[in-house]
């Protein structure tokens, strides 16, 4: 089995993206029932979401700049060029939105959510936004990945 740097970087990017999305979902569920007892867990999950999304950004950015141009050429020549022109272009810019929300989440989660309904509503809103945009980005990644596969299978 030959696992290259491109594979490690790309899969690491996806793993951290999913981890960040799941951490945000965890924050959302805990914040629904915010109490003094789970305040520390909420803050740790929010920090995990921010760290995971930063790692996903660094790995994804490195892969996008170093390895994607070759795949982009395959996608554009294949039957699904929209996978690049729409899905990749949207994904690579939508990710910054998720990253900003993930960086903000620990700031909002530092409040005493069990005593402050306004801060709790803010955390719920931010966490849910990370989950939704995270799922959309993962889905776009799957479409891009599949478009490379069908382009290569079609050329055989």
């Amino acid at each position: 089995m030959n696992i290259g740097m491109s594979d490690v970087t790309l899969l690491g990017h996806a793993v951290f993206g999913i981890a960040g999305t799941l951490a945000a979902l965890w924050v959302f569920v805990e914040a629904l029932n915010a109490r003094e007892e789970n305040a520390s867990r909420i803050r740790k999950s929010a920090a995990a979401a921010a760290i995971s999304m930063c790692a996903a950004c660094v790995l994804g950015g490195y892969w996008y700049l170093s390895f994607y141009p070759a795949e982009k050429a395959i996608v554009l020549r294949g039957p699904w060029p929209l996978a690049h022109t729409l899905f990749m272009e949207t994904k690579e810019h939508l990710f910054f939105l998720t990253l900003i929300l993930a960086l903000y989440l620990p700031v909002a989660a530092a409040e005493r959510l069990y005593a402050n309904p306004a801060a709790r509503a803010m955390v719920l809103c931010v966490a849910l936004s990370i989950v939704v945009t995270g799922i959309v980005i993962e889905g776009a990644g799957a479409i891009i990945d599949h478009s490379v596969k069908i382009a290569l299978l079609g050329s055989r």
């Binding site: 950004c57 950015g61 996008y64 700049l65 022109t85 729409l86 272009e89 949207t90 690579e92 810019h93 939508l94 910054f96 939105l97 990253l99 900003i100 929300l101 960086l103 903000y104 700031v107 909002a108 530092a110 409040e111 402050n116 309904p117 306004a118 801060a119 509503a121 803010m122 809103c125 931010v126 936004s129 945009t133 959309v136």
Partner: protein
Amino acid sequence: MNPEAPRLGRATAAFALSASIAILFNTLLACVKDAVPQLSRFMNALAGHNWTTQGLADVTLFFALGLVLMKTGLPQEVTPRKLISFLTASVVLASIGLASWYALF
């Protein structure tokens, strides 16, 4: 504003507003750099790739604006409901804006 109503902390309110603005700025910059090749080339020259420059600009704007707003304390005067609505609207508008831009242009 009702003084008894729950308020957001100084940092939470300031960074909520800066996050909303940075999110809208990100979508605007993505569209403008596509429409103006000179800007895209300039961004390529700044950090090696326009995508990298855009990411650095977004994160810098988020932190710098958040710190400035935190110092002024002004976002705390805005009701939490308005801040949450503005952030949610920014996320929805920016997402739809990006997808529409790349679908149509």
